[in-house]
Symmetry: C6
Subunit: 70 residues, 6 copies
């Protein structure tokens, strides 16, 4: 997840997760599993809101995978 | 797996896996092993469908290797 | 967190953390958890001040995520 | 192993391993050790044939080292 | 720590550590902790002198963080 | 160790290790420690000769540090 072009399927899929306030699981290369909603994305980061609405600024290069959690 | 050019053998092999709905194993740098079918690929990600047809958006930079599982 | 453009939401969020002297937690790909305030950021690094005001020069490519700690 | 220029010594060494059907060991950053022959290489990947002739598509960025196994 | 521009705060901070023969701790993504002085830096590497004045050529991409050790 | 310019101090230091047949230790991000002599370097790899003169093709991006072993 190193380049950000709004036409890319992966960027659009994440954009849909944002719009739908989709609950997601985000696995990191540290093996951390973050759970929450995606708030926004930019070129470098994905901002996740956890269940207490706290922002977690996640580096794209640290992401292993994203999937819906329901 | 950092650049996406449709003429590359690795991109075409994955394209064949998509077309054939090939069951694959995808090993990540986290040591996770994902099993399923490849749904699509773009510059940044490979989208895997697991056995329950859930989409898993996998970062290319997190992939160690891909092989067929049968 | 590989490119530094001052207009990016992620760069501006960090800039706000700097301005507000926000207490943050910074998780590294080594699984280290650094706690402190962000002093400055540039293209390559984020400089964290720990509780004893010591500077820790953190490589952006080693950052997994940043969140506020209160 | 991030750029692919056919004149590079490392690319040519791998090309020789391909031509000679050389048995090799490939150590990954996951600490997996793959054993087999190199089938082809491109900009992003090295395709390894294991002992049962199954193709393993290995990301270059996940490779730690390659050596002959005999 | 992937680009080297002499005007960057992070590059200048390291340049100050070099000039001051500052004792530093350098944490690597391998979780190794190197202790010593920074001898020089270039685009790809930071050269550390350990306590026996041996040179250790450290890849920038392997650095998690640098801090002073006193 | 991502760019290869022959004028860089790090490239020249490695070039000296090659010329002097210097015994070195090479620590990888996998935590492997390779011991031997550097045979050649190119843009992507460093080729190490172990004590039995076997070539080990090491990816630059997998290198944590290099130091002399005597």
């Amino acid at each position: 997840m190193s380049e950000f072009e709004t036409g890319l399927p992966s960027v659009r899929l994440i954009q849909n997760y944002i719009k739908d306030k989709q609950q997601i699981e985000l696995k990191l290369v540290t093996n951390d599993l973050l759970v929450g909603k995606i708030f926004w994305q930019d070129n470098n980061c994905i901002c996740v809101l956890d269940d207490s609405e706290k922002q977690i600024l996640v580096s794209r290069q640290a992401i292993a995978y994203i999937k819906t959690s329901d």
